[in-house]
Amino acid sequence: MAKQMKFSVYRYNPDVDKKPYMQDYDIALEDEDQMLLDALIRIKQHDDTLSLRKSCREGVCGSDSMNINGKNGLACITKLSDLEQPVVLRPMPGLPVIRDLVVDMTQFFEHYNSVKPYLINNDPLPETERLQSPADRAKLDGMYECILCGACTTSCPSFWWNPDKFVGPAGLMQANRFIMDSRDQATEERLENLEDPYRLYRCHNIMNCVEVCPKKLNPNAAIANIKDLKIERAKESTDNKPVKKLFGIKVL
């Protein structure tokens, strides 16, 4: 049995359109159309000018992140039965639109690159691999699962306000992922890299990132952890230094 479903989709082709507009679709869905991405592909069968990104269709690649009824998410793991009609689909906010639901994620990945999202270890390579205890490995849980879909960063008002300066929740969580990695030797540099009033400290705990993450991760906790670590490192560094005393009172 075919089921009708209403959609309102953001359309913008900069070569042709002066302004973006919303286009309504009333589409007959088949029984196998369970997820929003299935419906979008169904729409594309009727109107192949609609542009969107997709790849793995199972919430692993992060290509089809978009703004669904006002909330960022992945089309491929959003159930059609959970959506109110008409389903309003827009590109992720805060990034330039290339066409329709496709956004330019250059800024997002520049921030990601800026935190050096790779292991820095100057020891000679071991014969097999760099080993890690299960406890140390467990510290990466909840962070390594990030698929860099950009849903969190583009729903963050701090990123909308300062997109060129604030690294954003996705980038900061990856920073924390490598800070927490027992095999990484650049913790100090990584913490210093985030030490200006913008890169890390524009986060005001708005929590949109936690709300929208399709992988149910918590970038806000990662950001808080970076701040905590900065304080802990400062305490440690003074523990090793001779204590300065002023009138017999420990001052530094």
Binding site: E195, P197, R199, Y201, R202, H204, K227, I231, S237, L252
Partner: protein, 115 residues
């Protein structure tokens, strides 16, 4: 010690941590003030006068307001960083806030030492 985090070496942490430290001072003051008021329960003008007159009360209250103004300064500076992107306009707004907070501070000192 936390003091080194409040130096120029930590331009971001310094602002973030100052805002939290001033908040702690204010919270402690408010709790102490409420407890003191519950114990003493000043009923008339003379009792209130006796309550607010000691130097430690004036100094603690001054400290509270200094923290409040610093906290407010940091908060407004944050808001301006988020919303005002014209550097000149931001500087003027920041200056207006600075002047207002300084005037408030002098006003508070005037009030505290004139009761």
């Amino acid at each position: 010690m936390l003091i080194q985090l409040l130096t120029n070496k930590y331009p971001g942490m310094r602002l973030w941590l100052s805002q939290r430290l001033t908040a702690v001072v204010m919270a402690v003051y408010i709790v102490l003030l409420l407890v003191a008021l519950l114990i003493i329960q000043p009923a008339d003008y003379a009792a209130w006068h006796a309550f607010v007159s000691p130097i430690w009360f004036r100094l603690a209250t001054l400290l509270f307001f200094m923290c409040l103004f610093m906290h407010a300064w940091l908060g407004v500076a944050d808001v301006l960083k988020d919303y005002v992107f014209n550097k000149v306009l931001r500087a003027y707004l920041q200056m207006a806030v600075d002047v207002a907070l300084m005037l408030y501070l002098f006003w508070i000192i005037y009030i505290l030492w004139n009761v």
